[in-house]
Amino acid sequence: MPDPNESSDLQQAMHDRLGRLRAMPVDASRLEQALQSHLPQRPGDLRGRLPFLRLNPLRAMAASVLILGVLTAVLVSSFTGPVLASPAQMAQLHNDLVSGRAPVMQVDSIESANRTLAGQSPQSPAIPSLPEDHAMACCMQSVKNKKVACVLLKKEGVPITMTVANAADMRLPKSPTITRNGVTYHVQSHGPLNMLMTERNGRWVCLIGESQPDRLMDIADQLQF
């Protein structure tokens, strides 16, 4: 709105000309692309979850061939024995989830994460529940070709990734252990991240976060299988 005290044509003309800048077209595509790597996905955005939807037909075909190859590799490897997840791999998995680099699905509870993951992959190992879980996102990942279900939690403001696999698929590391309430936990670290691995009820569980191992153990204590 122009100043009501200004009646001059000159003032009004300049006000109107500046107002036309509002219609100036801008190309926000590069900005959007740059922001995508820093912001979490828009809820319900299938393109973010399924990157091949953005590919042209030729690339989509190449991606299909690649996916077929990966699936074959997974099938072949599923007949091999249990694998050992390195701390660097688990740290990478956690960092990808926290930064939004990994395609995830937004959830608001572990229960909804289990529903979502089961819908995506019927063989998905069930994630044990937690009271007041503060689940934010979930996804299926692969560690040395073994499927792992991941859920990103927030505990006291700190992001924690809980990764679950079938116990038959994963080996526990030869790292220092702590036993609490009859359960043995293997403790590892990678940079600022601490990791706690254990096996319970036929499932391999790994908790990763910047919290101290004791705090991770408090969370692990509350897991309900």
Binding site: M1, P2, D3, N5, E6, D9, L10, Q11, Q12, A13, M14, H15, D16, R17, L18, G19, R20, L21, R22, M24, V26, A28, R30, L31, E32, A34, L35, H38, L39, P40, R42, P43, Q106, D108, H134, M136, K154
Partner: protein
């Protein structure tokens, strides 16, 4: 607010305004790479501080306030923050030169519409930062004087005065171009 709600709110209320942020950044920065960088930082801050955005308030004004602070921080780092006083502004209405300048614009709307957006933006670049912000808020984005005054931390009267002076200064900055193209009447000499 939980993370889910924050994400939903950001995409519902802030994301649709990304063009406004980028356009304003382009007018301020004068080049696309700097503008994209400034707009990106602004939108990331908006996401980080989405908890502080009050529902029912003007999202555009909130976002432009973040853009302004981000821009000022950058100018401070470069040592070129444009704090000016009214005394430093050119184009006093009582000035004889201004009277002459005013008299040459016969059909100002027609003349001003002959300038491209790029030419107007280039002229805006020559204005002091606070004047430019006043014109951006009041004239380009049509934010009311009271809200603009709150955002620019100045009395409403000062905003009105800056808008008035800013338009004069912008006209003066465009005058050489208008003369080159013979769009204005030359004043009688002698």
């Amino acid at each position: 607010m939980n993370q889910q709600a924050a994400i939903r709110r950001f995409y519902a209320e802030i994301w649709p305004l990304r063009d406004v942020v980028l356009r304003t950044a382009q007018i301020l920065a004068g080049n696309v790479p700097d503008a994209e960088d400034l707009a990106q930082e602004t939108l990331l801050k908006a996401f980080r501080f989405i908890d502080t955005f009050r529902t029912g308030t003007d999202a555009k004004a909130w976002l432009l306030a973040i853009l302004r602070n981000t821009r000022l921080d950058r100018l401070r780092i470069r040592g070129s923050a444009g704090h000016i006083s009214l005394d430093e502004m050119a184009g006093d209405p009582a000035d004889e030169a201004y009277e002459v300048e005013q008299s040459v614009w016969e059909r100002p709307a027609d003349v001003l519409n002959k300038f491209s957006d790029a030419e107007v933006i280039h002229a805006l670049q020559a204005l002091p930062e606070e004047i430019r912000w006043t014109l951006l808020l009041v004239d380009v984005e049509e934010i009311d004087h009271v809200e603009a005054a709150r955002m620019l931390e100045a009395p409403v009267g000062t905003i009105k005065s800056r808008a008035h002076r800013g338009r004069q200064m912008l006209r003066t900055a465009l005058l050489p171009l208008a003369r080159d193209r013979r769009l204005v009447r030359e004043p009688n000499r002698g």
